[in-house]
């Protein structure tokens, strides 16, 4: 039965509900976006209008789209509906949308449950979950919001990868999306269509005897047009490496490729290679590997290319002084920044303006994090004045978020937002930094909103289910430059 506004008012007055009229603003509670006018929290959250936040629940198996300005969940989708037994929604990136309340597309990866925090590599768990990448769609154009699967990209391309996803910007805007996975050491680039086409794929393998890294193009089967890496095929290790696990024995060729990040102004992207503390810079015009940055303090700016044989680039990696986790570009593209961690906890800062990445030099390091706090993720702001970093810690420590001045490369503010902090992402107006913490997937967890100008925490919202990542839906391709694209 539908209830129109007039009937609702009649019933309300008849029932003697004083003040009901004030509950009905320009959009009633029966429309797809709630108007909180008159509600106690309305004044606090109104300033976040225009920000829809996607929150994938690693442990809950769902993703929700949250209107930060109400706040309310606009829609949510359980990936179990796609037939996955124990889905682990992992990382996420959103396409730009002029009106995210009406609709937007986003990408979601997932991995099997033999993953960090769910690290149960025992017989009972072996067959559960899967590697997946989905193109998803939020529709808020009607009275019932919805999130639906547009494409199961792993099935479409024949390559299933489960870690970071990032969307091309700058010269690569409106063209490409990249997926990566450190259990397979692969990167896949596709176009952004609803039925994605393979653009290029890479695989990285380390030779510990020769101490060389081979980065190769991998090609789909010419008869099917697909790869043969669906599900667990191509997996080197049964679980994604936890922080510090770069030191663990693994497949000797394993390097833990984690992400691909896009230069905002030049035609380059970076393949992030955790275990080797390296970033392979790729020319996105030709997809050739043009440089291998070595981000550790005390190492050269880059490692030399030994040879190129066909579609394989071989680099000498004589020593690895520290692993890294994430690396990416500031919004302007002036700097490439790498989060070294475990053995060295510092942030390497390269100037990345030269059109020859082999000329990119480490100019400085952000330091002083000690041996308990690991630089992990990076969050950008529109004007590149600051960069935010997640400083992760294992139990019993919480970790923290810090704000770094990009003129001095010094920490100017820090917040203990809660245990097990993860990604940072800027609101569309550039005024606030959102960040999630997942309580080591078990305890305190939530979403925190930090005022970038005055360093005050403006809001904190509960967020159960192991939020390992989140993203604010950007409003434009320019806005995407400080979202899940230049950094992860």
């Amino acid at each position: 039965m539908s209830i129109n506004r007039r009937q609702f008012m009649k019933n309300a007055i008849a029932a003697g509900m004083a003040g009901t009229a004030t509950m009905l603003g320009s959009r009633s509670a029966f429309s797809a976006v709630h108007d909180p006018v008159g509600e106690a929290q309305a004044d606090l959250f109104r300033k976040f209008k225009g920000n829809v936040v996607l929150l994938p629940s690693k442990y809950g198996g769902y993703v929700q789209a949250m209107d930060l300005s109400t706040p309310e969940t606009l829609a949510w989708y359980s990936y179990g509906l796609h037939g996955i037994d124990m889905p682990i929604p992992h990382h996420i990136a959103a396409m730009p949308s002029k009106d995210p309340y009406k609709g937007f597309d986003f990408y979601q990866t997932m991995q099997p449950p033999a993953a960090p925090y769910v690290n149960e590599n025992s017989p009972e768990w072996r067959n559960r979950g899967d590697f997946k990448m989905f193109k998803m769609r939020y529709d808020g154009s009607g009275k019932q919001n919805s999130i639906t699967v547009v494409n199961d990209i792993g099935e479409t391309t024949g390559m299933s990868l489960g870690v970071h996803v990032s969307i091309g910007v700058g010269e690569n805007a409106n063209k490409y999306v990249a997926f990566a996975d450190g259990q397979k050491d692969m990167v896949l680039i596709t176009d952004i269509g609803d039925n994605p086409k393979i653009v290029k794929a890479f695989r990285a393998d380390y030779d510990p005897v020769a101490r060389q890294l081979n980065i190769s193009h991998v090609f789909p089967d010419s008869t099917t047009g697909k790869f043969d890496y669906v599900g667990r095929k191509g997996m080197k290790t049964s679980h994604e490496a936890m922080l510090g696990e770069e030191l663990m024995p693994a497949d000797p060729t394993a390097v833990f490729v984690d992400a691909f990040t896009w230069h905002p102004t030049l035609p380059f992207g970076a393949i992030l290679i955790r275990r080797l503390g390296c970033c392979a810079i790729v020319d996105t015009r030709t997809w050739e590997v043009v440089s291998l940055l070595s981000t550790a303090k005390g190492s050269p700016d880059n490692f030399p290319l030994v040879k190129q044989t066909g579609f394989t680039w071989t680099f000498a990696v004589p020593s690895v002084l520290t692993p890294l986790h994430e690396a990416g570009f500031v919004t302007s593209g002036e700097y490439f920044v790498a989060c070294n961690n475990v053995l060295q906890n510092n942030i390497a800062v390269y100037r990345s303006t030269d059109e020859n990445p082999n000329k990119w030099k480490k100019e400085t390091f952000v330091e002083g994090f000690g041996t308990k706090y690991l630089p992990l993720h990076m969050g950008n702001v529109p004007d590149s004045r600051f960069a935010f970093f997640t400083m992760w810690a294992r139990k019993p420590n919480n970790g923290y978020i810090c704000k770094v001045d990009t003129k001095t490369w010094k920490v100017v503010a820090k917040w203990d937002t809660g245990p097990d902090p993860h990604t940072c992402d800027c609101t569309v107006d550039g005024k606030y930094m959102t960040t999630v913490y997942s309580g080591h997937q078990a305890g305190q967890s939530g979403l925190v909103v930090i005022n970038i100008a005055n360093d005050k925490i403006e809001a904190r919202l509960p967020c159960p289910g192991g939020m390992h990542d989140h993203v604010v839906v950007p409003e434009s391709w320019e806005g995407l430059k400080y979202s899940r694209s230049t950094s992860v």
Partner: protein, 212 residues
């Protein structure tokens, strides 16, 4: 279902290596250093784990260190030195989380049977499987032993000497840092006195190898 990825690893197999000296074998802990496995969440510094991410395995001519905790297939604590005492042996460290590691066990068994000259095989799982959802740390060894039984059954392993050696990669005294390996399998051929004769890092093309 087998614990394996079905991928045919077409890229070249990693060659064997004989390392003359090991940084890991020379680890010197700074006095009072906070260890990685301490209760305060400290991560190790590079000098505590061999100077960098990749270290060389303990080398040829050195005594193979086996004085770390190990458990048999009943979950009982054992002395690994007893498993190789007086016998020329091949001690294979593997990890159940890595398909290529598990697959190598069968190949080594076949090779040892045909060209091993009666070598004594010892397989050591240098890992513990997850216990976070299955009873906590106290269940790590029992759960890993259970996995080992499954591997033995699924891979149809004949080797009787299968062990679990829990490893803390973040501790300077952890198995992987003591022995200096980051890639598994890593196999040590030792003489009857436990002195290393050969080291094999990674999967090998055993068909192309002569007798051990």
């Amino acid at each position: 279902m087998k614990i394996r990825a079905s991928e045919n690893r077409a890229s070249g197999r990693i060659k064997s290596i004989c390392v003359s000296m090991s940084a890991a074998a020379l680890l010197a802990l700074p006095a009072g250093a906070a260890l990685a496995d301490s209760k305060d969440g400290t991560f190790p510094t590079a000098d505590q784990v061999g100077g960098q991410v990749y270290t060389d395995p303990v080398g040829v001519g050195k005594q193979l260190p086996l004085d770390f905790d190990a458990y048999d297939m009943d979950g009982k604590k054992v002395d690994l030195a007893d498993a190789i005492a007086g016998k020329r042996s091949m001690v294979v460290f593997f990890i159940s989380a890595v398909p290529v590691s598990v697959e190598e066990l069968v190949k080594i068994e076949n090779y040892a049977r045909s060209r091993g000259k009666g070598i004594n095989l010892v397989f050591v799982n240098a890992d513990t499987v997850g216990s976070a959802l299955q009873g906590g740390p106290k269940m790590a060894v029992p759960n890993t032993v259970k996995t080992m039984h499954l591997i033995k059954k699924e891979q149809k392993l004949q080797t009787r000497q299968l062990f679990v050696a829990p490893n803390d990669a973040l501790s300077p005294t952890g198995v992987s840092n003591r022995l200096g390996f980051r890639g598994l399998p890593t196999s040590f051929v030792v003489d009857k006195n436990g002195v290393i004769e050969k080291v094999f890092v990674g999967p090998q093309d055993w068909n192309k190898k002569g007798a051990i």
